[in-house]
Every structure is written in C-alpha cells, then in structure tokens.
C-alpha cells in the first residue's frame, strides 16, 4: 500500500472505558473479522490481560477500510500496553503511530491513567482524536466529558466524536476521522532500508517474532537485515501482518506495520526501540532508543526451597515474552535460593508474580521491594543500588538520591482531606488540585517512588471506597535522607528484611517489624533478641524469652510410637528451619512477616 493510504494509530483509554469493545467493532466494521469469528475481547489474548483489563503486550492488527471518498486505506491499530509501568514500550508503540484515539467514558469522565498516557502521546507528537464513548448510557454526561477534555488535557472538546462501541454508534465517524485527521506516514530521509522494532514476542516454532514499523524502503523475506543495537545481522524468514491472527505477506512497505521472523532464538537479542536496516549500507538509528531499566526490584523465592530450579526455569520462560523482566540468582539465609528480579514498575511486578503463581503453579514469596537509588560517594563517583544489602558503608556515602514520580490522584471531593493526609504521610508534596466536575478532584503531586510501592494504591481505593484512581510517571531523582534499616536476630542481620527507608520512617517501621518477628519466631532454649538497627544504632528491640523446658510429661509403652512420630515430624520440620545467629527459625515465619508487610 502506498504511504498516502496508510494510517497507523493506537487507542488510549482508562480501564473499562471501552477500548477492547471499540477495537472489536473496528475489526468487524472493516470486515477484518467476520461476525461469526468474533469472540469477546479479541485482542487481549492472555487470561490475565482479560481479567485485569490491561494490555501487557502490543497487539497490532491491520484492517482495510473503504472510505466515503471511495478509496481503500490500510489502518494499522497498535493496541499498546495501557500502563505507565510500560511507558517505554508504550512510547515505542506510539512512535510507530501518527495518531491515537482517546476514549473517554461519557459517564465516568477522564481518569488518572488517561492523563499519564495522553502526556506520553503528546510528547510523541501524535494527533489525538477524542472519542466520548458509552453515550447510550442513561447517565452519560457529554458536555461534562467535553469540558474535562479541555480542562484536564487541553484537547478541544468539540473535536470529540460521540460513540457507543456497544451499540455500534459512531464507528463510521471514527473510521472517517482516522482517515481524515491522522496524517499519513512520511518516510524518513534514511539512505537505505530502515524500520523500528516496537515489540516482540516468542513463538515456539518461529522463534522471536519481531513487530516492526517500516520507516524507509521495504521488507521482504530473504533480505539480510541488521539489528543496530544488538549488532546482529539476520536473514528475514517470514514477513506478515495480523488480522488479528498472523498471516504472511510478500512484503511490508514504507509506513506499514507488521512482523518479521528470522530464526532468532534469544528474545534478549531483540530490543524494543532498536532499528533494523540494511547491513551493507546502514541507515542511522531511529531516535528514542533506550536500554530497558527496571525501576523496582524484589527477591522472589520459592516457598518450598526445593522448587528453586523450577522457579528459575519458569522465570526464564516468562522472560521469553517479557524481556523487560531481569533476574539474577540471589540467596538469603532466611529464604534459601531465589531470584532478584527487576521490574518496570509496580504493576509489572504484580503481573510477573501473578503469572508465576497461575501459569507456572509456583508457590512464591517476594521480599520487600526496593527502588533504584543513586548513591554519590565521597570520592564523587556514583553508584546505583537496587538492593539494600549492597549499600556501601555509610562513611563513604556523600548523598543518596531516590527516584521521584509525578502522581495523579483522582478522587471524590469528599475524600480530599484524607487523600491529602495520605500523600503527606507518604512524603508527597501536592503541586496542584483541580476540580474535574461536581464530584471529583484531581491532585497532582510529587512523591517518592519507594513510598507508593506497597499500599498507596490500596489505601486510595479504600479511602474512596473504590472510586479513586491513581497513576504516575517518573520524574528523576532527588537527594533524600535515606537510611538502611536492618533487622537482626541475636546480632545477625536478616537481609530479607533490610530496606532503605527515609529517616523519619525508620523507627516506626523497625518497631512494627520487630513486633511481627517476635510473634513468629518460636521460643528457643535461650533468649532471642530481635533488633531493628540503623547503622550500628538500635532503634527498636523485642525479646523472645528462653524456653525453660520442652519435655512432655509422660511416655509409657503406648505413648512411645505416637511420640516418636511426633518428634520425627518435628525433626523433619527443623530441616527446613533456617539458622540465623544460631536461632532456628522456620521459613514460614519469614514468609508470614513478608506477607503482612
């Protein structure tokens, strides 16, 4: 297809505002999928994606649309992950597009997640077509939705298309707007063939399937192409598009999106955002490439220590389709062998843990998550620390910088007081407050990432009885008075509980942890001291008093067998005990505390 008849676009929407329903409508209306093949939610392939209503991988799909002007256009919809954890992937997918549909639920209005994604799309220079969806709902409030588009996102409200994806209203208008308002792709001025890799996935038979957008020249099977960042040159085996199932084509022309395969077995050789080009006469790389940097780290351990090998295999398999996930072996006295995993953000972390549990049937426990700190040393060198266990000795540290995010919280006006209190408890700073409509306000704040790792979102949900929403985008690092809090048992540090926390939070956290540990550490034949310490300084202490006896009173002929079995079970259990500072602690105890963290 000539570039003038190609439109590449994505869809931005808050969960449940109708992205999937609308996509399905578009596929149907363009005849890409016959009605009888329609199954609910065509694009969200993974169970987890369907259940949580989030897209994790990009799903491109190619449609042919005969417009009112009589001409046929190739519309490439690139369904992008809808969460800022995947902001980089989203930005790469968006850069394969020239425009985006912004869907807003007519009854709900603009939500926090939409704000962060619209900002990303605008940064990419995409043309945005606002769509007010669900106008069929009795409590749809179209004027208010238009107003919010203008007030919150600075998008002219009268440009919005009114639609009901469910009822099939406005679908035609949307297709026409895509053709009319979104610019056709323009070739770059590269000297040779050039394409952008915007995602990839792993196929057991074909190897890595690379999703590409051609920015110059054309792609055919049999061509030699070079992946600039990974440096590999490969032969293209297959070229195709999705409808939404993959189908082969003889070529992809400039401006088109689709996939290639090249017998690549290791997904890590294919980097999202990389450029592929002609190896003999390479074009320059496309802008915006980044190596992926995990933002959040956490140790993942099998509950049953014998499952470590299986955990490793499972995580490796998961990584085939999730190259943003990083891991390396880690071991802890408390939990045995496990993997220290790096995630793009909170949601990514949850998804990985959930998939390990569900798809791989692994029983796992995760340690307290850590963000990545920048540590300026006294010799002016800088280190990145993602594991508190590896924080250099404080005497060599000049300053610790912690990652900061800009967070958007949308909540009912009634809850604003509680939400502000929550934000300040979390060391956040409110930048501004906007009234969205009669009921809702949006708070924009600056907040340390480490403060929102654990229960920020849950607490917003509970304060607002489910009506609040939250999203965030990274905003660099800031100097911060962070200290390393260690938990010790009889003088020995248990790394699984070490964390970098702000000085003002250290004591409270130390006390809580010490009290919890006291509950779960069984009494020993000697006294056990549980201490929380910053550097060498003890800030909280609990004592588990010594057992004075463990013997049960009687044991005669009839009791011996039962008693033996009991003791044997105990002995078996002790094999799974971890010895910390000569204190025997069952692994379950650690798990218990980590769970309630």
């Amino acid at each position: 297809m000539d570039a003038a008849h190609i439109r590449n676009f994505s869809i931005i929407a808050h969960i449940d505002h109708g992205k999937t329903t609308l996509s399905d409508r578009l596929l149907h209306r363009t005849g890409t999928v016959a009605t009888r093949d329609m199954e609910d939610q065509l694009l969200d392939a993974m169970d987890l994606e369907r259940e949580r209503g989030i897209t994790i991988k990009a799903h491109p799909v190619t449609m042919l649309y005969r417009a009112k002007n009589g001409e046929t256009y190739e519309l490439n919809l690139i369904d992008t992950p809808g969460h800022v954890d995947f902001a980089y992937e989203v930005s790469r997918s968006l850069s394969a597009c020239e425009g985006a549909l912004l869907i807003v639920d007519a009854a709900q209005g603009v939500e926090a997640q939409t704000v962060a994604n619209v900002h990303l799309a605008m940064k990419q220079g995409l043309h945005i077509i606002p769509v007010i969806n669900k106008i069929d709902l009795p409590h749809a409030n179209i004027p208010q939705a238009r107003q919010q588009l203008e007030d919150i996102l600075a998008i002219p409200g009268d440009e919005a298309i009114l639609a009901s994806a469910k009822e099939g209203i406005g679908i035609e208008d949307i297709l026409e707007a895509i053709v009319a308002r979104i610019p056709a792709p323009k070739p770059t001025d590269a000297p040779s063939f050039q394409a952008l890799i915007f995602d990839s996935y792993f196929d057991t038979y074909k190897g890595v399937v690379i999703l590409v957008r051609v920015t110059k020249g054309e792609l055919r099977a049999g061509m030699q192409v070079k992946l600039l960042h990974s440096g590999r040159t490969v032969e293209v085996k297959e070229v195709g598009s999705f409808n939404p199932k993959p189908y082969t084509r003889d070529r992809l022309e400039v401006g088109e999106t689709g996939y290639i395969t090249a017998n690549i077995k290791s997904p890590r050789e294919v980097k999202v955002g990389d450029t592929i080009t002609d190896p003999r006469n390479p074009s320059a790389e496309l802008p915006g490439f980044q190596e992926i940097h995990p933002m959040v780290f956490s140790g993942i351990y099998p509950i049953n220590t014998a499952d470590y090998e299986q955990l490793k295999v499972s995580v490796a398999k998961l990584q085939l389709n999730d190259s943003a996930l990083t891991y390396q072996t880690e071991s802890s006295v408390a939990l045995g062998f496990g993997l220290r995993c790096g995630f793009l953000g909170l949601l990514h972390m949850e998804i990985v843990q959930e998939r390990l549990r569900r798809e791989f049937d692994m029983d796992i426990i995760a340690t307290y998550p850590s963000v990545v700190y920048r540590v300026l040393m006294t010799d002016r060198t800088e280190k990145e620390v993602d594991n508190p266990a590896f924080l250099p000795d404080v005497t060599y540290i000049e300053t610790i910088f912690e990652p900061i995010v800009k967070a958007f919280v949308i909540c009912p006006g009634d809850n604003i007081g509680d939400i502000m209190a929550l934000i300040s408890e979390k060391r956040g700073e409110i930048r501004h407050t906007e009234t969205l409509d009669a009921r809702r306000v949006m708070l924009t704040c600056k907040i340390p990432l480490n403060e929102i790792l654990i229960d920020f979102h849950d607490r917003i949900k509970s304060i607002t009885r489910g009506y609040g929403s939250m999203d965030y985008e990274p905003e660099g690092h800031e100097a911060s008075d962070m200290v390393k809090l260690d938990m010790m048992v009889n003088g020995e540090v248990m790394e699984a509980f070490s964390a970098l926390v702000h000085r003002t939070k250290a004591e409270a956290r130390g006390r809580t942890l010490a009290a919890k540990l006291k509950e779960v550490i069984p009494r020993q034949q000697f006294q056990v001291a549980i201490q929380a310490a910053i550097g060498g300084k003890i800030i909280a202490r609990e004592t588990v008093s010594a057992l004075r006896k463990d013997v049960t009173a009687k044991c005669y002929g009839g009791d011996i067998s039962r008693k033996r079995k009991l003791l044997e079970k105990q002995k078996e259990g002790k094999k799974r005990m971890k010895s910390v500072g000569s204190v025997e602690i069952p692994q379950e105890a650690f798990v218990e505390v980590l769970k309630t963290n």
Partner: protein
C-alpha cells in the same frame, strides 16, 4: 498365637488395658467409656480369650493393669480374669501393678487382688485439693484418697504409687505444695507426677483454645522444681522425668518391709545417683529399656520381637474379633533395627541413668558412641548431658529438654 519361637525367650512383660471409666476426666485422651450394660462382661470374656492367645509366649516378670479404671471391674469380673490368668500361668510376676481410682477401692477387691499376686497399686490421685479435683472432672474426693490408701495398706500392699498432676489451671504454688506435702506424708513407695498435657479432643484443650485460661510456663517450671526438691527431701529419688521412688534403706514413713526382688539382669538397683531406686516401677523401666511386652485389651500397644502393634480402640470391635478367635489388631509395624535403636536411644534418655554403652549395644546391636557421636557431643557441650563412667545420661537441666534430646537421637531415615 504361636508359642515362643524355638531358641527365643518368652515375653516377660504384659500390659492389660481396662477401657472403662465411670466418668470422663476433662484432660483425658485415653480410650475409655462408661461401663454400660453387659459390655463389661463381654469385655472380660474377650480379654480372657486374648490372654489365652498370648499365654503360650508370655511368662511375665511384670504385669500392669492400666486404663481406664481397672478397679471399676466388679469382684466377680476380677475373679474371672484372675482365675483365667492363674490357669494360664500368668500370675507369677515379681511386680504386678493394678491402677485404682480412689473412689472404687474396696477392702474385698483389695484382698482379692492381693491374694492372686497383685503386689503394687497405682492410685490416680491427681490432686488433694477439692476444687482442683472438681476442675479436672475427677469423681473422687480428697478423703477417699486417704481412706483408700489405708484400705490398700491394710490389705497388705507394700508398694503403692500415687499419680499427681501439676500446672492444673487454677493451681498456685501454694496449692501444689500442700498437695505434695500431704501426698509425701502418706508415705507411698512411688510417685508419678505429670504436668498437665493438653491433648487434642479433650474438654481441657478446647477450654484452653477458647481462651478460658492461659498456660503459665514459668509457673509450671517452678512447680516442677518444687517437686524435685521436696520429693528428694522426703527420701524419693527421681529415676525418670515424671517418676520418683524410694530406696529400701531410706527411712520414710510407711511399712516398706519388702521390696520386689530385682529380676531382669539390666535393672541395676543401687544407691548411686545413676542406679534405679528400689521401688522403681520395673514394668515401665522395661519400656524405656526396650524390653518386649504384650499388650491386651482395647487400644493396648505391644512390642514383640521387632513388631509394634496396637489393638483397636473400640471395645465392641475388640470383642467381635476375639469372639471369632483372633486378636483385634488395628495396626502392626515392623521397625528396622536402626530405627528401633534410635527410638530406644531417644526414650532411654528420659531416665536419669541414661544408657550404659554396653547395655545399649546388648539391647540394640548398635554402638551409641559410633552412631550417635555428634549428637552426644552437642548435648554435652550445651550442658544437657554427661558421660559418667560408662554411661551417657542427661543432666538435671537436660532432662527439662528431653524432647529436643530425643529428637536428635531418632533415626527417621531408617524407617
């Protein structure tokens, strides 16, 4: 039941379980039920049948009738059992104990038992405080204890045991000391003292779980210390975690004219701290030394030539099986030699005298010093055990952690 295999010794120990109690105590997890209707007669007949089956392989040096409440059998029923035992040649035991409830002792019964050769009575006293007796759901009064004691002495019993319990919910140190002093003053030859155990499926356990009271472990430890100190001041020697006995020469009150003669070679009676006191219960010592023993009656356990077995804990089922002429075993397991040796090492340490190295090798075929060297070393290092002469034994501190010690000596991997 086959007779003793050629070349083997007949079994020298016999336990008989009498599964009836007038009323269930709050803490009790033993198998017992109220003696309703004709079930007791049916049981007596079945028991006689079972005794007939094992008799060809049993020449008991020690017999123990436990329960339940053996003293609940009527004179007539006792006579049936005793006559059968006489006929079967089971009555010549050097030590023959019958457990009695202070509420069910009568002069006639005492005399009958004594006449047939029973020479030791174990009385379930538990406490001498009326309120605590009530708390435990015991059916007897404190006065019945004193009266029964006199009745038994009058019938000629010269070896009496009192069972006491401590750490009963509501029991203070003062209450315990009073019970202890009064019990010691009675002048029995033997004392068994247990800390209350909370067994699942007992009312006491349910009350504990429901938060009706708390367990005060420190108090329990103090009560135990008081027990050790007072009983030894009164001439008792502890020979096992919960068992105390007098020596013939220690001049306590009471008659103590005739002590049972030592029988099995390994029961060394003497005055040394690691020797057994004269009135140690030989039957129970046999368990801790790993001697073979038959067990008859519902829920009874036995250990005979490497096979551990247990009868059904169901009197009707028990009777049905024996009426068909076969024993009523619920399970039987063979213990491999190392597993059994581990078990004996473990439970033998409950006795103050621990294990003589030679003695252990004779009983198990294994050398304690070779197979359990590191365990012994660990316990010695933390002050829980010592080697004295050629014996390995727990210390006073170690006896408080006998379960931890036992756990180390077990060899589950051999099972």
């Amino acid at each position: 039941m086959p007779a003793t295999p050629a070349g083997a010794e007949p079994v020298r120990s016999l336990y008989v379980h009498v599964p009836f109690c007038a009323h269930k105590c709050e803490y009790c997890a033993f198998y017992s039920a109220p003696p309703s209707g004709d079930v007791v007669n049916r049981y007596v007949a079945a028991l006689v049948r079972e005794l007939e089956l094992i008799a060809p392989d049993c020449r008991p040096n020690t017999i123990f009738f436990g329960g339940g409440t053996p003293s609940l059998l009527t004179l007539k029923q006792w006579e049936t059992v005793l006559l059968a035992m006489e006929r079967l040649g089971l009555t010549r035991a050097g030590e023959w104990t019958v457990e009695c409830n202070p509420a069910t002792v009568s002069a006639d019964k005492a005399k009958l038992l004594r006449d047939f050769g029973v020479n030791r009575i174990s009385m379930g006293v538990q406490s001498l405080d009326e309120q605590l007796l009530e708390r435990l759901g015991r059916i007897h009064t404190r006065d019945q204890v004193f009266r029964s004691f006199d009745t038994l002495r009058a019938a000629g019993f010269e070896n009496l045991n009192l069972d006491l319990m401590f750490a009963i919910p509501g029991q203070t140190m003062a209450l315990w000391q009073r019970t202890l002093d009064e019990a010691l003053a009675l002048g029995s030859e033997h004392l068994s003292c247990y800390e209350v155990i909370y067994e699942e499926d007992t009312p006491l356990f349910a009350q504990l779980n429901a938060g009706e009271f708390d367990v005060d472990e420190d108090l329990a430890c103090d009560l135990y210390d008081a027990l050790i100190d007072r009983s030894s001041a009164a001439g008792f020697r502890q020979y096992e975690i919960a068992n105390f006995a007098r020596d013939r020469r220690s001049n306590g009150q009471g008659p103590m004219t005739k002590a049972p003669e030592p029988q099995a070679g390994e029961l060394v009676i003497g005055n040394g701290p690691l020797d057994l006191p004269t009135f140690a219960c030989r039957h129970n010592v046999g368990y801790w030394r790993g001697l073979d023993s038959y067990g008859c009656g519902p829920s009874a356990s036995e250990y005979v030539r490497g096979l551990r077995a247990k009868n059904w804990s169901n009197t009707t089922l028990y009777c049905e099986q024996l009426e068909k002429g076969r024993r009523a075993k619920e399970m039987a397991e063979a213990l491999p030699p190392l597993g059994r040796a581990g078990e004996l090492a473990a439970f033998g340490l409950r006795m103050n005298r621990g294990w003589g190295f030679a003695e252990f090798t004779v009983r198990t075929g294994f050398d304690l010093r070779a197979g359990w060297q590191s365990e012994m070393g660990d316990l010695i290092r933390c002050g829980w055990a010592a080697v004295t002469g050629d014996r390995f034994h727990l210390t006073r501190a170690g006896l408080r952690f006998a379960d931890s010690a036992a756990e180390r000596f077990l060899r589950p991997e051999a099972l």
